[in-house]
Amino acid sequence: MNKINNIRDEFPILNRKINNEPLVYLDNAATSQIPISVQNVMREFEQTARSNVHRSVDTLGNIATAKYEESRNLVKELINAPSQNDIIFTSGATESLNMIAFTLGNKIIEKGDEIVITIMEHHSNIIPWQQLARKKQASLKYIELCDNGELDLADARTKITDKTKIVAVTHASNVLGVINPVGEISQIAHQHDAIMVVDGAQAVGHFPVDVQKLDADFYAFSGHKIFGPTGTGILYGKQKLLKKMPPYRFGGEMIAHVTRANATWAQIPQKFEAGTPNYTGVIGLGAAIEFLNQIGIKNIQVKEKELVKYVLPKIENIPGITVYGPKEWAKHTGVISINLAGIHPHDVATAFDELGVEVRAGHHCAEPLMTDLGITATVRASFDFYNTKADADALINAIKQTEDFFNEFR
């Protein structure tokens, strides 16, 4: 745990000021900060071995390719995939999810089929399925929430039927801060021979993820949310499904043989990685995973729990506050969405910003959920392991001051 306490040195941004106040960075669900050590790995690579990967017999290309593939291995281990050939590098969770919908989804979904998602999904895990369903005259069904802000597993059992071909569920919500029972939903999906897609954008880096235990068919997440570089993402897929999956994009590196009239594809995973990949980014992603491993994902989980245990009851005690999602801290990730009675979330965020507290206000790319909750936006504070109790206190104070400021007028 000591490692965690000194770890803020790895993130110099945490020492900056915002509007003359010390930065309190509580927007980790949007993007997490990146450690110096990860930046150094990329810098070192760029200054000593930058070279395009694959299809090369020179020393530099060989070093770059080896490092790139080493990151694939680190990802495999991070999520306990059976093989590193099950790991496809993408530009982010959004691309990972689109890739499934546009390739395998497009191939298997037919008129009358059903795709089941949940009402708490991020747009990146809604619109690809929604548009696929529209194109194919299939139907898109939503698993609803219980009153306690959790997913309604009984509803999942009703919505997933033998007509269901794909079930796509977020592992952890970017609005409600709830962790979904994806293992159970996976079982239900498989009982109906449906493919289980898990959006892990808010899960990986916060608690241990084991794609085999979850029995997920696909698992998607982003590098920039796990202390890695932007422009990197991952799609894990079961080999047997990747074998059926047509290529997503065409170009260099993903081919076996090209003639004027046709082309054949390289082996998996290269088949799905057309063009020069974000190789420096992927190497940085590997460094970010090593950073994660060094701290220990379980330590991160404990630290985040501690912060939520400290701050959530305090928030709930402030008059005029609505908290969305589960009310018990034990059921919460570091993501906490709230509203202040009668004050618009953007006005709240501007007030918080005056106090150095950086949160996100808006629909968080989850408009159907907002509609379902009867609101248009929330204020979201999202904690990561490098946040402190002082950050939590600053948030509490910001809420109170903001209420005072706007209520004074009324």
Partner: protein
């Protein structure tokens, strides 16, 4: 650590207008209308107006959800342009947008904006400029058509 600077932006009249916005709803059988959307925060507003034969704005209204800045700005915009000619309205829009961007402008021009000039400090809150300019951009769009789309980006 306090919110004093915030008073530059949230003046009483703004919070008043935000809590009791004027000219809300829809004009029946409008001659012009438009939907606008602020991609930086998600606010959506719908505007309707009626132009008479002389291109004078005889009625104008808005509806939709948003923060206090965008609600107040919409409310003040509709109040100041009601009764103005299209040409005058477009001129006011230009003055407002210049003011919001921190460009220089004469006191005389500013006064033409009526209450809306209290938003002059918006330029000190760059993340909120679009909240203030959204309804003026909507005015342009409603009066001139979509060719002015780029302005709010």
């Amino acid at each position: 650590m306090n919110l004093d600077r915030l008073k530059l932006l949230y003046k009483d009249i703004i919070l008043e207008q935000a809590n009791n916005p004027q000219n809300t709803g829809r004009i029946r059988n409008p001659t012009n209308e438009t939907n606008v959307y602020n991609p930086s925060c998600g606010d959506k507003l719908h505007f309707t107006c009626t132009l008479d034969k002389n291109k004078k704005i005889t009625a104008i209204a808005f509806e939709g959800e948003g923060c206090s800045i965008s609600q107040a700005s919409a409310s003040m915009m509709t109040q100041v342009v009601k009764g103005k000619s299209t040409k005058q309205a477009i001129e006011l829009s230009k003055i407002f947008s210049d003011m919001a961007m921190g460009k220089k402008h004469s006191q005389e021009d500013l006064e033409k904006l009526g209450d809306a000039q209290v938003l002059i400090n918006i330029m000190q809150f760059p993340a909120r400029i679009k909240c203030a300019t959204l309804s003026w951009w909507a005015l342009d769009r409603m009066l001139l058509g979509e060719k002015r789309d780029k302005k709010n980006d």
